[in-house]
Amino acid sequence: MKLAALSLALALTASAAQAGPRGEDGRPQSAREHGAAQATLPWKRDPFPSTYRPLPRQDALIVDATVLDGAGHRFEHANLLLRDGKIVALSTQAIAAPAGAATIDAKGRWVTPGIIDVHSHDGDFSAPFTSLDAQNSDVSEGSDPITPNVWAEHSIAVQDPSFGRALAGGVTTLQILPGSSNLIGGRSVVLKNVPATTVQAMKFPDAPYGVKLACGENPKYNYGEKGRFPTSRMGNVAGVRAAFLEAAEYRAKWLDYAGGHGKRPDDDLKKDTLAGVLAGDIRVHWHCYRADDMATLFDVAREAGFHIDAFHHAVEAYKIPQLFVANHACAVVWSDWWGYKMEALDGIRENAAFVDAAGACVTLHSDSPWLGQRLRLEAGKALAAGRRAGLAIGPERAIEWITLNSAKVLGLDARIGSLEPGKNADVVIWSGDPFSVYVKADQVFIDGAVVYDRGNPARHPRSDFELGQPSMAAEAE
């Protein structure tokens, strides 16, 4: 595994260098925006701030567990200390329980970081699906192919029962994205998977925003069918290039103004989001399937001067893993979806493992409230396919595909995604090997609070929608 990754990395040419100054992770850096005037730049504003507060918590010492730490290690009979909502220690040596800490015997059980779903529509394509949604769904703004001005958080129904189902599947963090009907579909939002009555109370504090874009069949089909631009793949690309040209001009005007030159530019909600992308503040999540499409868009991004954080779905990522390495981009994939549309025809089950073997970042996503309950099985299936193809990968690696790598996609890997001391205490205790179909999440911690406890009905959150529905009653007949 390691050897293969190294040799492929060495085989890369220097032509992958991108325009403009870059940080270590390939993100653009602008000296001008680090000046004193940055507070006035419209894309730096935070009009819908998080009001999240951790739920009541108790310090906990989890003992004698099999631990996959999310950072590539597996420990047997390990102990994990959670204090004040943070990971404090992970060790195979004894850890003394601090006063007041609960000791949880995890003998025979497995512990992992909280699962992160980087592509969910829980809340903006919520259950129940109704005839209203069939007509006009909250997941996509269908009036125009370029809507960077819309924000997914403004569509989210916090009472979607899918959140609770995902929580029971160990999901502690979700990125909710707009749909893929549009070339530029709008901003994403990162949520902590805690029950709440407002979306602000779920928002991950200070998480970077993302923007959803879509290539290929969906935009050209959705608008072409209405006789509108774009009707072709080349139209798709032209539309995105034009939008970023306009945004670059807008951003330059704002930077001039912030530097004390010119008059105050008019605010433009569409261009704000794209200017934020050009500034490296807003992360880019591009729905795209085919290798040739993705390769084109890597060039589009280089031309426009922004960084693609991830291609989502990316069923042909395995054909161009070196481009993911060179462009510091992640491939966000399923384990086995294929064939439901033309651009998904070449999906293979080794996609994740092959991209990983090339040394590129890969994560598994759900895009589905059913799959979103079982990302661990997605990782397990992708792991098994890779092993059958001869790659020596273990569970300690595959867990990264739904934890640390996912945190990288969201720009949150300094705070979540692994069980390293100092990180948020987002932890799952599983009844056994999480890649087994028979295993369940016993307890799920978010910031040290037990937000789900399989053995305690008082800690099974139920959405308001699930109240008072006779057909959901436990007893029938």
């Binding site: 293969a4 040799s7 492929l8 085989a11 259950a127 129940p128 699906f129 109704t130 069939a134 029962p161 899918s162 189902r165 395995y318 054909k319 893993p321 070196q322 086995d336 979806w337 294929w338 064939g339 439901y340 549309k341 033309m342 025809l345 999906g347 293979i348 089950r349 080794e350 092959f354 073997a357 090339a358 589905s368 409230p369 059913w370 799959l371 309950q373 099985l377 397990g380 299936k381 792991l383 098994a384 092993r387 059958r388 193809a389 001869g390 790659l391 020596a392 273990g394 890649f435 087994s436 179909v437 028979y438 295993v439 929608f465 699930e466 529905q469 057909s471 959901m472 029938a476 007949e477």
Partner: protein, 440 residues
């Protein structure tokens, strides 16, 4: 690295299989699988035989016996204690009727215009060369119901078939295995806006079929008849030949209506979907109705499915209802990943309380009985088609995979479009200066 030995072994096993097109090997001859941990699904012997010797002769099961010596001259496959099951069956797919779901020209499982309602019959559209068939076969699926999803009718969908997953061969196992209809909130639109109208429409259709007298001369229905001659003929044949009625219903009230309808017209009932079937499990058991359910459907996804829950299968089986599985996965698993998805679904049903043996029945003998092919498929009983899978682990773990698959005694090729792409883009070939198009 744990599991490394196994990986190497698996690669060898695959490499040693002859590189031949799917199903080109003859079904003749005798094959013995020895040291198998066999799920025979033969009730008389408890459904299981450990350290079994399974003998296949001329494409059919001949015998299964513990520790028996293989017959002289047989080709011997050593299962080394691994699990062997009959080939598995999904009870609802569109296999053979779809290639790329979004392309209407490759989709033959529904019609939305024209005269065909109940008479729509999928058997004529089956594609033996569908690229999906090798994929699901390599996942251990050897039989599948392939069903209609729409017809030009307010409730009827048409007639489904049972497919034999034998790529390139005669894939039609049983035509007209069930008559499909659908009732529910979203479907009600076609009948004018109420599910009551859908039930009335269905009842009227069976009344008309019963009362129908063919005209002495010419064709066509009497003036006041709602069903045309084609559909009436299909319904009459269905009733006479005791073809079951497969009703796609989810809500408890609709499931109860389905039981009443089937009862009233003497039809045997298969509930398809049945998200709330657990709420009337005893009623379904008493009426010997079967349920084809999706074990992954645990969300209140529509108002018809508010009661959806993960232990639907377990509750139904405990009540004595015959269940079978199909997994939709946003419709993406339904056909393209039918093999791995039903196994994962079975595993999830077990994780939520279904007995393991009942889950195995739900993928073999149960759908065979429900859809009328139990006389030749479903167990390892002597004389039945030798559909067989040797697994590298627990078949209900989605990370497990078949090592050897037989359909009617013919060994299936493990090569699929996906394995060819896999091999073409294998990481070890990354430095090949020639483009992948020059590789096999």
């Amino acid at each position: 690295m744990k599991g490394k030995y196994k990986i190497v072994k698996n690669i060898l096993a695959i490499a040693l299989l002859p590189m031949v097109p799917a199903m080109s090997m003859a079904a003749g001859g005798t094959i013995a699988i020895v040291h198998a941990n066999a799920w025979t699904m033969v009730e008389a012997s408890g459904g299981r035989v450990d350290d079994a010797t399974i003998v296949i002769r001329d494409g059919r099961y001949e015998s299964v016996a513990a520790k028996a010596p293989p017959p002289a001259g047989a080709r011997v496959i050593d299962a080394t204690g691994r699990v062997v099951t009959p080939g598995l069956m999904s009870a609802d797919t569109h296999l053979g009727l779809v290639e790329v779901s979004s392309l209407e020209e490759t989709r033959d499982y529904g019609v939305n215009a024209g005269p065909l309602g109940a008479a729509f019959d999928v058997q004529y559209g089956l594609n033996r060369n569908s690229a999906l068939l090798p994929v699901v076969l390599a996942d251990g699926l050897t039989r599948a119901v392939t069903s209609p999803s729409a017809a030009a009718d307010a409730a009827f969908l048409g007639m489904g078939a049972v497919l034999r997953v034998q790529p390139g061969g005669d894939v039609l196992d049983r035509a007209r295995a069930a008559m499909y209809a659908s009732v529910g909130g979203f479907g009600a639109k076609q009948s004018g806006g109420s599910r009551s109208a859908q039930w009335q429409w269905l009842r009227n259709a069976f009344d008309e079929a019963k009362a129908y007298v063919p005209p002495k001369s010419g064709v066509g229905a009497p003036r006041d008849q709602l069903q045309n001659a084609l559909n009436i003929a299909a319904l009459r044949a269905m009733v006479e030949k005791r073809v079951p009625l497969a009703l796609r219903v989810s809500r408890e009230s609709d499931i109860r209506q389905a039981v009443r309808l089937a009862d009233g017209y003497g039809l045997s009932l298969i509930v398809i979907g049945g998200a709330e079937a657990w709420r009337c499990a005893d009623l379904l058991a008493a009426h010997k109705a079967a349920v084809v359910l999706d074990p992954e459907a645990d969300l209140p996804w529509t108002f018809d499915e508010l009661g959806a829950r993960a232990d639907n299968a377990a509750i139904l089986a405990r009540a004595g209802v015959t269940i079978a599985f199909s997994v939709s996965g946003n419709t993406i698993y339904l056909s393209h990943n039918a093999g791995v998805a039903v196994r994962e679904g079975a595993g999830l049903a077990v994780a939520n309380g279904l007995a393991y043996a009942d889950a195995m029945k739900a993928l073999t003998v149960n759908p065979a009985r429900i859809f009328g092919i139990a006389d030749h498929y479903g167990s390892m009983a002597r004389g039945l088609d030798a559909d067989l899978v040797l697994w590298n682990g627990d078949p209900f773990e989605p990370s497990s995979a078949p090592e050897v698959v037989f359909v009617r005694g013919v060994q299936a090729s493990p090569i699929t479009r996906q394995t060819l792409l896999r091999d073409r883009y294998a990481p070890k070939l990354a430095k090949d200066p020639w483009p992948p198009a020059y590789r096999p």
